[in-house]
């Protein structure tokens, strides 16, 4: 265990063991190596020795982290955070961590009150957040306010904050998932889906035959409307839907069925399959998608040229989606439209990158990359086969710029958005 950096810092410390910075530096090295108790000893010394309040503050917050990471020491950690707040009440880091620990301990009223104090007291703009503070930003205090507010009965406020966080603020990946879950728990899931209704007819960008007959769609992010747009309102089309989930809510094929399409859906959840069978006309197979013979299925729904109009690939997690993708006999069958769920927003770049290469090598054109139901959850790429779709459609609908594309913005002309409250 050769550790020259640590030893050098020990030597620097020994050279002047009353120098707060040297205590801090040694503590910081132990901290980064995961030795919380060792770091703690030097951070505490630094806090005591330093005449620089910002440095003492930093040490007190990091000391609390040391305890917190060891588990089951939240009251001890809170004590250090209270020291930090007493020292520099306008800095947000210690407030945030105190609030977080109160929430973890289910001390919701104290937590909520602390968010009020922090939001009214802290200087969020003119402060240099120190390294490893693990302070995400003001939005994280708002997040804790929504959670604690919910549990003390301030449900309407909690909903408003949660919507505000979801639609107006950039958070980290972990909190995105938590906020998404909270949207669901708070009855806000309707905001997670973007819908077309007949009132949006004039603003719909890619009009197709039969659009005027649609009162509403079903997909989470306009996949059904996209497919019909690319294929210009085709009737009697065909699809293979892998991962069908609910027969209507969020379904990419329910609207297609209403356009008299024929197809096969695959779903592993027995309850959802039963619901599908009771509600829909087309076939559904209850099976693990990684075990099926897709040659057999596609032979039943493809046309004489071995073409199928739409392929949906959506299993969880995306590694499974990609595993199933590689089982599809693309050498024999072609698809006019493919929607592939890579879930890059929470699962990272691996499947995202590998799937892109896979489809590009097969000759598919990525018409819409990084589609999302909002401005954050880029979760799908949408492809078309250039030989099976009109070039002018590709020209009109292809996106070439930008990182995340909110599906509503892509499909619908925007009008002024309504805000969700002002928490600034």
């Amino acid at each position: 265990m050769n550790n020259k950096i640590l030893k050098n810092l020990v030597y620097e410390y020994i050279d002047d063991h009353l120098d707060p910075v040297k205590n801090f530096n040694l503590g910081f090295e132990y901290y980064t190596q995961g030795h919380g108790a060792l770091a703690f000893a030097y951070f505490l010394r630094c806090a005591e020795l330093s005449e620089d309040d910002n440095l003492s503050y930093q040490c007190l917050v990091l000391s609390s982290h040391c305890l917190d990471k060891q588990g089951s020491r939240t009251h001890s950690a809170q004590g250090l955070l209270l020291h930090a707040i007493s020292l520099l009440p306008k800095r947000p880091e210690a407030h945030y961590h105190l609030i977080r620990l109160l929430e973890i301990n289910k001390d919701y009223q104290e937590c909520y009150t602390q968010t009020s104090i922090a939001l009214s007291l802290c200087d969020f703009e003119d402060v240099d957040i120190f390294p490893l503070s693990e302070y995400p930003g003001k939005w994280a205090i708002l997040f804790e306010r929504s959670v604690s507010g919910w549990f003390i009965g301030r449900c309407d406020e909690a909903r408003e904050i949660t919507k505000h966080l979801w639609f107006d603020m950039i958070t980290d990946q972990t909190h995105s998932q938590l906020i998404s879950n909270n949207m669901d728990l708070m009855g806000l899931n309707k905001f997670l889906h973007t819908h077309y209704d007949s009132n949006m007819f004039d603003r719909f960008k890619f009009k197709f035959d039969g659009l005027e007959t649609i009162e509403k769609n079903y997909s989470q992010a306009y996949q059904d409307m996209f497919t019909l747009s690319v294929l210009q309102g085709k009737r009697n089309g065909t699809y293979l839907e892998i991962g069908s989930a609910d027969p209507y809510y969020g379904s990419n094929t329910a609207l297609l069925e209403e356009f008299e399409w024929n197809g096969v859906s695959v779903e592993i959840d027995k309850e959802l399959v039963e619901r599908f069978k009771n509600a829909r006309s087309n076939e559904v197979i209850c099976s693990d998608a990684t075990t099926l013979d897709y040659n057999e299925i596609l032979s039943r729904i493809s046309d004489e040229n071995n073409v199928v109009d739409y392929l949906q690939l959506d299993c969880d997690p995306p590694e499974i989606t990609y595993q199933v993708t590689k089982m599809i006999p693309f050498d024999k069958y072609k698809f006019r439209v493919i929607t592939f769920e890579h879930d890059r927003w929470y699962s990272g770049d691996r499947i995202y990158n590998e799937s892109r290469k896979f489809f590009t090598d097969l000759g598919y054109v990525r018409l819409v990359p990084n589609i999302a139901p909002d401005n954050r959850q880029d979760y799908e790429d949408w492809y078309v086969h250039p030989e099976l779709v009109y070039p002018e459609v590709i020209e009109k609908m292809k996106i070439t710029q930008g990182k995340i594309h909110k599906s509503e913005d892509y499909m619908i002309e925007t009008k002024n958005k309504k805000g969700y409250g002002d928490f600034s």
């Binding site: 020994i14 190596q33 703690f40 305890l67």
Partner: protein, 348 residues
């Protein structure tokens, strides 16, 4: 009336050690082994080309506000921060092998005590502050255990260790306790807690049980008893009791050890419990009269430091000590510096 502490704010023997050609080396094992908790009170033993260290890992984080003591914990300036759902004080021990040149840990293994453990009945669990000794070919960690009696009675225990420490392949390393002896005290059989007996490495099974006035005892592993072999009648005035520290080694036909002493005090008008620990070099003659001592010192300036290991290493002594119940270091101390620090004592 406030009992003001003596401070050793400027005491930093490590600086002098380095200046005189010595070294200070952190004793480290991966934090994944310790959950980031304290590693402390290491005890070193050198045998030929092998340098072993017993390293104590505790289940608490030690909180001690130093110097101005502005930042107390919720429970005062000196606190053991246990998990809030488990107030037991748990000790596990790692047997480490140091590189003979760099003195860094090159192999280690947690000492497996499962063969001899019983469900603990007291809140201090495990063998604490074990000092290493090898007698009759057997490696022992000898420390205090308090978890076997419901009143927390502490007795010195011999932990016989079998081990293999492989620097090249960690998976081959192991250490396990194969035998345990709990030794009764020699005189006061009702003593509540025996601890910090200092093994006299060149006198098998002998310990300095108390440094001053010096009391020497011998343990008998056949019947788990001990008997007093010497109780010195000489006394010197140092202001504080000398307490057990390192093992005792033979040096220049005398006995040499590092002891510790405690300066408890109550902090500020609230009379909060607090304490400082100091170290001291001590030399005994063959009759166990203390003949030389150093001034009290701190190795690296922490208020709580505890030396539990001592071994001769050429022109140096290696002294292993715990820092603030959290970190462990090896001090490679030049003999000439030790000699310079020692002064002859006068008896009253």
């Amino acid at each position: 009336m406030l009992n003001k502490p003596r401070t050793l704010k400027d005491s930093n023997l490590a600086k002098e050690i380095i200046k005189e050609g010595g070294d200070i080396v952190p004793i480290m094992i991966p934090s994944s082994e310790t959950n980031g908790l304290g590693i402390m009170n290491p005890s070193i033993l050198i045998e030929g080309d092998e340098i072993l260290v017993n390293l104590r890992n505790v289940g608490y984080t030690f909180f001690h506000s130093d110097y101005d003591q502005k930042y107390h914990s919720r429970w005062g300036p000196l606190t053991y921060m246990h998990p809030e759902n488990d107030l037991t004080l748990r000790t596990t021990n790692f047997l480490c092998k140091l590189n003979t040149e760099s003195l860094e840990v090159e192999a280690y293994a947690e000492i497996d005590t499962s063969k001899l453990d019983i469900p603990p009945v007291w809140e201090f669990i495990g063998l604490e502050d074990a000092r290493l000794a090898r007698w009759d070919g057997k490696l022992y960690g000898i420390g205090v255990r308090r978890d076997v009696k419901p009143n927390g009675e502490g007795r010195m225990e011999f932990q016989e260790i079998e081990y293999n420490l492989d620097p090249k392949n960690h998976k081959n390393s192991y250490a396990k306790e194969v035998k345990r002896n709990r030794i009764q005290p020699p005189v006061d059989k009702n003593s509540y807690c025996e601890k910090n007996w200092m093994p006299i490495l060149d006198k098998p099974y002998h310990f300095v049980k108390w440094s001053h006035p010096t009391e020497v005892v011998k343990a008998n592993l056949k019947n788990n008893t001990s008997k007093q072999t010497l109780l010195a009648d000489t006394a010197i005035s140092l202001g504080r009791d000398l307490r057990g520290g390192s093992q005792i080694v033979r040096w220049n036909n005398q006995w040499f050890a590092v002891t510790h002493e405690l300066d408890p005090f109550n902090h500020n008008e609230l009379q909060l419990k607090d304490a400082y620990y100091f170290s001291r070099f001590v030399i005994w003659d063959d009759d166990w009269n203390i003949i030389k001592v150093s001034d009290a010192f701190s190795f690296m300036g922490a208020r709580i430091e505890f030396t539990t290991g001592l071994a001769e290493y050429g022109e140096f002594f290696l002294m292993t000590f715990g820092y603030a119940d959290a970190a462990a270091y090896t001090a490679k101390v030049p003999k000439k510096l030790i000699e310079k620090m020692l002064t002859e004592v006068s008896y009253e």
